[in-house]
Amino acid sequence: MTARRPLNAQADVIIVGGGIMGAAAAFFLRRRGRSVILLERGLIGQQASGTNFGNVRRQGRFLPQLPLANRSREIWGRLNELLGEDAEFLASGHIRVCYGEAQAAEFEAYANAARAYGLDLEMISHNALRQRFPFLGPEIVAGSYSPHDGHANPRLAAPAFGRAAARAGALVLEQTEIQSVEKAGEDFRVESTDGRVYGAPSLLITAGAWGSLLSAQFGEAVPLVPHGPQMGVSEPVPYRIEPVIGVVSRIPEEGIYLRQITRGNIIFGGGNRGPAYPDLRRAYVLPQNTLNQLPQLGRLVPALSRLNLIRVWSGIEAYLPDDRPIMGPSPTVPGLFYAFGFCGHGFQLGPGVGDTMAELIDTGRTSTPIDPFAISRFLGT
């Protein structure tokens, strides 16, 4: 998809970082008629965007984030017609389950609060739960069901946005590493390591775990910490488990989640996180984490104990101390915008973040509140 490289290029907006945030922003900026250059060091959607679990889940999120998640969910529902490609989004339903009464009470409280944001959740007790989802294990106490959430294929979604953006006229440049970023007069000047120079009056940093390295160029470093999700997949079996299932627990090892794809494989993750090395661009699954996950899978869905694990993988996700992303304009540099550090829950938000950032850059305001994610909360002024 990488276009022919012009020697130098100028546009309305330069986006640095071609994960799902940057690729979606490029796509929606083009729909608003803005010219865009998207610069990606490796390949589109290759890091956290391509290695995550693939959850399209709203329930359980920080409540003030629900408007953004709702905006994103609306886009997921028409993604195929928007992009002309299938990212395998399935509105399969999503169920949060727990092993203790305390969490069941939390589900109830969350559902009451979420209603105000237009998210209707159904509380299901132990017996009804096992009747409706007979594959669930006997230890489960209660569930919270979100009928319109679901899952999609992370290997496909961000690259599909990137290709659609390129078809819509964005200059999408893969394998383009940034040497320097600065503001020179009215324009941002971005130089790549191959000596090419890109200019634009607006700059959007969507560089995930590498985001703070770039915001630091403008004196706005944030305490970003990389972690690797611990993912795994079983051999394929007939498609029976429709909803995405996630365990909510105070014990990290219990907090696993899984989904079955129509191909038949069961994809899972959760429990303890693993090490990630942004400078090596590698993250690893620790064998002990896999071994901790296996019995939890059997506890959640006992029939899984008869299957085999065939592969594990990880990716580089970026976390902030308050588990909320950085999103919005720079408080000090006009024309500079951020959307990175999505703390392991960015995949569902991706299309909505792209749309919202495009709106912000295009109009100067957003119709969806994003104030809780302002970078200023870490800048100490």
Partner: protein
């Protein structure tokens, strides 16, 4: 400080020699073997209760097989032997194993990986029909269970194993319908200087071919596979090839043994984070090793066909050499003349390896000629056309990208059997050299791991 903890993976020729070398130095190594019995593939033992004598099982190699088995038996009580144990992962200085559903972590000071090799396969239209086996699998059926894969078998591919297994089938009384080699015969002349590194092996190989021809078996070189054709019941019914003169030829059969020489099993080296480099001789990525078998990772040694396909004799030398290198790195005194001697053997074997690669080349060019509806990844039923499509239309010109977009190599075998062909197909579709397409990143587990696995109680 206690005795050094040395783990060997694989009880074939390399692993057994490594174990014996460590025992001679006063160390009690742990030997992890995935199979039920020691011996590896070439010197594979028959199951208990089978009574075929050594000369019938191993032919000209009977004495070597007997010697290796005796060496192993002599190690009883002197090594910590773990048969039927899968080494499924390696991380942070520990080998992760599972046996009988119980997982354990074995910390090591030195790890000697002797993981062996498996068949290298290029797809052919119809190779997914029941009745198609790899050459190695055809040989295991015979050696272990005294079974043939069919009544009338076509041997298709290239490499020494093609002729060896065909001759073994003939000798065992199975009907060999044809031996069809994709390598043109003249390549062997060009490879002769390298092949003369092991004149006796070369002579034995030539005798095998003569014996097959004398038995009236069609032996053809320089063929192009066209298809494995099915019966109405959708099982193997025959093989169609284009011969060296461009004529279509068909051979009826009920089984096909297919293979293009071997590929090292390198997942453990990959999981141990060893560096790899592209080997233009064999057109594949191999882990970097120094002449003694040291990988790029301190404390990790690679020996035998799992590092370089040198064959069983080379594996014995490389296994001993890697063990001596590990001993030296652990601060033990090691006889330099012995190491020099072993290095020379390995160098000679490597010259022969180069000769074999030149005489029986991996048929990379076939990748461009496969039909679009030929299946490349049998686990995930990914066709050649799908893979070409993601390369041409979606920019997936790197193998892991091709995997992400097409599911190639995502199944149970993790691309061990389709990865090389998939790389060639992407390279041909995108006009890139195959080394630029890269290699599939290894991910745990090395083989499927039961979800019911529990940790050993400590």
């Amino acid at each position: 400080m206690g005795d050094p903890r040395v783990i060997i993976v694989g009880a074939g020729p390399a692993g057994i020699r490594a174990a014996a070398t460590l025992v001679a130095a006063g160390i009690i190594p742990t030997l992890v073997e995935e199979g039920r019995r020691d011996g590896g593939q070439i010197y594979r033992r028959q199951p208990e209760g089978f009574v075929r004598p050594y000369d019938r099982l191993y032919g000209s190699e009977a004495a070597k097989a007997a010697a290796l088995h005796r060496t192993f038996e002599g190690l009883a009580g002197l090594i910590a032997y773990r048969p039927e144990t899968l080494a499924w992962n390696v991380a942070d200085g520990a080998l992760h194993v599972v046996s009988g559903g119980v997982a354990d972590a074995l910390p090591f000071d030195a790890l000697i990986v002797c993981s062996g090799a498996t068949d290298r396969l290029m797809p052919v239209d119809g190779w997914n029909l029941p009745g198609t086996y790899s050459l190695g699998a055809a040989q295991i059926a015979l050696k272990s269970q005294a079974c043939a894969i069919g009544r009338r078998v076509v041997f298709l591919g290239t490499g020494p194993l093609l002729y060896l297994v065909a001759a073994q089938y003939h000798k065992a009384g199975a009907e060999v319908a044809a031996v069809l080699d994709t390598a043109p015969a003249w390549l062997r002349l060009r490879a002769l200087p390298h092949l003369l590194a092991r004149p006796w092996v070369l002579a034995r190989g030539l005798m095998l071919v003569t014996r097959l021809r004398r038995a009236g078996i069609p032996v053809m070189t320089g063929v192009e596979p066209v298809a494995i054709v099915g019966t109405p019941e959708a099982e193997v019914g025959g093989v169609t090839i284009e011969d060296a003169h461009g004529h279509l030829r068909s051979f009826s059969c009920d089984a096909v043994a297919l293979g293009y020489h071997l590929r090292p099993e390198t997942q453990l080296a990959d999981l141990a984070r060893c560096a790899f480099a592209f080997d233009p001789v064999s057109r594949q990525w191999l882990p970097d090793i120094d002449p003694d078998g040291r990988s790029s990772v301190r404390g990790v040694y690679l020996a035998g066909d799992g590092a370089r396909v040198l064959g069983a004799d080379g594996a014995e030398a490389a296994g001993e050499l890697a063990a001596l290198a590990a001993l030296r790195d652990l601060g033990r005194a090691v006889a330099e003349p012995r190491m020099t001697h072993l290095r020379r053997i390995c160098q000679r074997m490597d010259r022969f390896r180069r000769g074999l690669a030149a005489a029986f080349p991996w048929p990379a060019g076939q990748a461009a000629r496969l039909t679009d509806d030929t299946i490349v990844c049998r686990c995930e039923a990914v066709t050649v056309g799908t893979l070409r499509g993601v390369a041409r239309d979606m920019g997936a010109i790197e193998l892991n990208r091709g995997k992400a977009f097409s599911r190639v190599g995502m199944g149970r075998c993790q691309g061990r059997y389709c990865g090389h062909a998939a790389a060639e197909i992407i390279a041909a579709a995108s006009g890139l050299p195959v080394e630029a397409v890269g290699r599939l990143r290894g991910q745990a587990p090395v083989k499927p791991l039961p979800i019911a696995t529990v940790r050993a109680s400590t």
